[in-house]
C-alpha cells in the first residue's frame, strides 16, 4: 500500500454523469424487442391469471415449478427461503418477480429477496420473471439511481437465458444456468401487492 501511495499520479477529477440518460422512447416496446433479440421470450400480460395460463401452456406442469410470488402460490410450489439450496437441483421452472427492468439491454434487476434464495434463478432449467410495466427504465443509469445503496446481500442483473459460444463461436442457449428465460410484462394498473411487502 505504501507503493500505491508513492506511485499514484496527481489527482484527476471524476466526470459529470448528468448527461447520461435514456430518451423518451416507449420503454415497454423497446424492452420486449431487446429481450427477444438476446434469446428471451417476452409476453405482455394483463393479470396473474394470464401468467398462470401462459406457464401451463409453455411448460410441463408435472415437473417441479416453484415461485416466490404469493399471487401464484395456489398454482405452484411456494419456495422456501430456509431450506438447503442444493434441494432446488430438480426445479424445472422458477417464477419470480423483478424489481426493475432495463429497456436498453433487456436485463431485469433481482435483489436476493425477490429471488427467494440466491441460487434459484440459476439452478432452474427455465426462468420466468414477472415485471410490472411501470418498473421498466430506459438505461442502467436510471436503474442505478433507483437502486441506490440497496438493502441486499446479493443482487443481479439477469438478461436472458444462460449462454455460451465457446465452441467455435456457435451460440448455445443453456450453458450452466437456465435454458430459457421468459419475462411477463404486467400491464399498468395491475401492480401486485408484493411490491410493497418486502
Amino acid at each position: 500500500m505504501a507503493d500505491v501511495l508513492k506511485n499514484q499520479p496527481s489527482a484527476s477529477p471524476l466526470p459529470d454523469m448528468s448527461a447520461f440518460k435514456g430518451g423518451n422512447q416507449d420503454v415497454v416496446a423497446t424492452y420486449c424487442e431487446v429481450f427477444t433479440g438476446i434469446g428471451g421470450k417476452a409476453f405482455r400480460v394483463k393479470s396473474f391469471a394470464e401468467i398462470k395460463h401462459r406457464i401451463a401452456e409453455q411448460f410441463d406442469t408435472a415437473q417441479r415449478i416453484i415461485t416466490s410470488l404469493p399471487e401464484l402460490s395456489d398454482s405452484f410450489e411456494r419456495l422456501s427461503i430456509d431450506i438447503d439450496p442444493h434441494t432446488f437441483d430438480d426445479v424445472d421452472v422458477a417464477v419470480i418477480e423483478a424489481e426493475l427492468a432495463v429497456a436498453e439491454n433487456g436485463a431485469v434487476w433481482l435483489p436476493e429477496q425477490r429471488m427467494g434464495q440466491r441460487i434459484v434463478p440459476y439452478i432452474c432449467q427455465h426462468l420466468a420473471v414477472v415485471i410490472p410495466a411501470e418498473r421498466i427504465v430506459p438505461t442502467l443509469h436510471e436503474a442505478y439511481a433507483k437502486i441506490g445503496a440497496g438493502d441486499y446481500g446479493f443482487a443481479a442483473f439477469i438478461g436472458g437465458p444462460s449462454k455460451t459460444a465457446d465452441i467455435e463461436q456457435a451460440l448455445v442457449l443453456g450453458a450452466h444456468g437456465p435454458i430459457s428465460m421468459s419475462v411477463f410484462v404486467l400491464g399498468q394498473g395491475t401492480t401486485p401487492n408484493s411490491v410493497a411487502s418486502y
Binding site: A11, A149, G150, Y152, G153, I167, H176
Partner: protein
C-alpha cells in the same frame, strides 16, 4: 541474449503452419469485432461513455490508496473477510490456508485471469486440492492442459472436432461427436454434478465498488453463480486496479463491457456480491502482483485502466493471425503485450514487437488506453535495457546508419532495388526470417529521387 523458451515469432510460426485454421481464426475474431461495432453504433453517446469511463479510471489510479482503504472498510463491514497479497505466492497460500482450515479438498473456479497469472490451479493440485474450471472454454482448456488463448473466449483457437476429441478422451463422449450443442449439453450435465458437490467456489472480480464494498462478477454462462450460491466457502480474487469509486459508475462500465467484448447489450449475468448468505463464509483477496509497480511508470500506468473486454485482441491483425498462445502470457494480444513487460521484462521482451502499431486497439478500447503508443514506448525501454533480441538490435543499428545521411540512404536503396530485380533469390530464401511467411515486394526500377532528378524539372512547372 539467450532465450530458453520460444518467443512470439517462433510460436506464431507454429500456429500459421495450418493456413486454413489461421484464416478461420482471423475471420471468427473479426466477426466479433464487427458485432462490437454494431453494438457501439446503437448507442449515440458511445464516445462520451468511453471518455467518462476513461476519466473514472484516471480518477481511480490517482486516488487508488484511499479507495482501497474505503473498499476494505466497507467489505469488512459487510461481513466479508479481506486478505492482502503482494504476489502470486502470497495469494495462493491464502487460498490454500482458507481451504485447509475447512478441510476442503475440492474447489470449483469461475473465470479469473488473475488466478491464471498466479498459477493457482497448479499450486493447489500439488497440495492435493482438486480444482475444476467451470467456464466452458476454460474447462476445455484445462482438460487439454493448455492455458486460455483469449481472456473472453478461452478456446477460440480450437476447432470443434478437436474439442469433440478432447471430450471423447476425457469424458467418454462418443468418438466423432463435434456438434457444439451436443458437447455443451454434455458439459452442462457433467459440471452440474461438480457444482452441487463442491463446498468451496472461487470467482474473479470485474468491478469492486469502494463506496458500498460490493463487487460485481460478469458471466454469460452462469457458472460463477452456480458455484458461489451452492458453496459454504466463497472466495473472490481481484487485482487492486479493479476498484471503481461509486456504484453509479457501474452504469457506465456495464454499458461498455459486453458491447466491447462480444457485441451483447450486457452480459447475461451481472452479479453484485455484498454479504455472505446465512451459514456461508466469504473471503476477498486483494492482489498487487506488480500493479503498484506499473502505477509508478508514468508511460505505462494507463494499462491498469483495462476492464478485460478483449476488444483489442479481436481487432488486432497480429493477434488474429498468430493466436493467443503465441504470446506466452496469461493476457495475450495488445493489452497483454503492454502488461507483461512490467511483470518480467526479459521474458516478455518480444511482445511489444508483436504489433504493426496500426492503432486499431486504441480505437476500440472502451477505457481509451493508448495501447499502440505504449507498445512503441515499451520497445524503446526494452532496447535501452538490453533485452531486445540480437537480430532486432542489428537491424535497428543498420537502419540508423542507413537513415543517417542522404548518401547512405540512396546507396542502400539502390543496392536493395538491384538485389530484388536481379538476384531475388538472395533475399527470397529461408535464411531471411521476414520472407518465411511473406513474399518480398516487386521493386521499382528507380527510386522517387532518381525519377525526380530526370523528370522533375521538366514536368513540375
Amino acid at each position: 541474449m539467450e532465450k530458453v523458451e520460444k518467443d512470439h515469432a517462433a510460436l506464431a510460426e507454429e500456429f500459421i503452419k495450418d493456413e486454413e485454421r489461421v484464416d478461420w481464426h482471423d475471420g471468427a475474431l473479426w466477426w466479433i469485432r464487427q458485432k462490437r461495432d454494431m453494438a457501439a453504433k446503437n448507442i449515440p453517446e458511445w464516445e462520451a461513455l468511453r471518455e467518462a469511463a476513461s476519466q473514472i479510471k484516471n480518477n481511480v489510479l490517482s486516488n487508488l490508496h484511499d479507495y482501497l482503504l474505503e473498499f476494505e472498510a466497507n467489505v469488512t463491514k459487510n461481513g466479508i473477510k479481506v486478505h492482502w497479497a503482494a504476489d502470486a505466492e502470497e495469494h495462493n497460500a491464502i487460498v490454500y490456508s482458507i481451504l485447509k482450515e475447512k478441510g476442503i479438498e475440492q474447489m470449483v473456479k469461475s473465470k479469473s485471469m488473475l488466478t491464471e497469472e498466479c498459477h493457482l490451479n497448479e499450486y493447489l493440485i500439488e497440495r492435493g486440492i482438486d480444482v475444476i474450471n467451470s467456464d466452458l472454454g476454460e474447462y476445455i482448456q484445462q482438460l487439454d492442459n493448455e492455458p486460455p488463448s483469449h481472456i473472453v473466449l478461452p478456446c477460440i483457437h480450437k476447432r470443434k472436432e478437436e474439442i469433440g476429441e478432447i471430450f471423447h478422451e476425457h469424458l467418454g463422449t462418443e468418438k466423432g461427436v463435434s456438434d457444439p450443442t451436443t458437447l455443451t449439453r454434455f458439459a452442462r450435465r457433467h459440471l452440474r454434478n461438480v457444482f452441487v458437490t463442491r463446498r468451496a467456489a472461487l470467482t474473479g472480480v470485474n468491478f469492486a465498488v469502494a463506496e458500498t464494498g460490493e463487487y460485481v462478477v460478469c458471466t454469460n454462462e452462469g457458472n460463477a453463480d452456480m458455484g458461489a450460491h451452492l458453496s459454504e466457502v466463497q472466495i473472490a480474487s481481484m487485482g487492486i486496479e479493479k476498484i471503481i469509486p461509486q456504484k453509479k459508475h457501474l452504469g457506465i462500465f456495464l454499458r461498455l463491457l459486453a458491447r466491447s467484448a462480444t457485441g451483447q447489450p450486457i452480459t447475461i449475468y451481472s452479479s453484485h456480491f455484498k454479504k455472505p448468505r446465512k451459514g456461508q463464509e466469504m473471503h476477498l483477496i486483494l492482489v498487487d502482483m506488480g500493479r503498484s509497480r506499473q502505477l509508478g511508470r508514468p508511460d505505462f500506468r494507463d494499462s491498469l485502466k483495462c476492464i478485460r473486454c478483449g476488444s483489442c485482441m479481436n481487432t488486432c491483425p497480429v493477434y488474429r493471425k498468430s493466436g493467443g498462445l503465441s504470446y506466452h502470457n496469461t493476457v495475450a494480444g495488445p493489452i497483454g503485450a503492454i502488461l507483461a513487460p512490467n511483470l518480467d521484462m526479459r521474458k516478455h521482451a518480444d511482445l511489444p514487437f508483436a504489433s504493426t502499431l496500426c492503432g486499431s486497439c486504441s480505437n476500440v478500447c472502451p477505457v481509451k488506453i493508448n495501447i499502440h503508443e505504449q507498445l512503441y514506448k515499451w520497445r524503446q525501454v526494452i532496447v535501452q535495457e538490453g533485452y531486445a533480441a540480437n537480430t532486432k538490435v542489428l537491424g535497428i543499428k543498420a537502419m540508423a546508419w542507413t537513415l543517417s545521411s542522404p548518401t547512405s540512404y540512396s546507396t542502400i536503396g539502390k543496392a536493395g532495388r538491384w538485389v530484388l530485380n536481379n538476384i531475388p533469390f538472395a533475399v527470397n530464401n529461408k535464411f531471411n526470417p521476414w520472407y518465411r511467411q511473406r513474399d518480398m515486394p516487386d521493386s521499382p526500377k528507380e527510386s522517387f529521387g532518381e525519377w525526380y532528378a530526370k523528370h522533375g524539372k521538366d514536368e513540375v512547372k
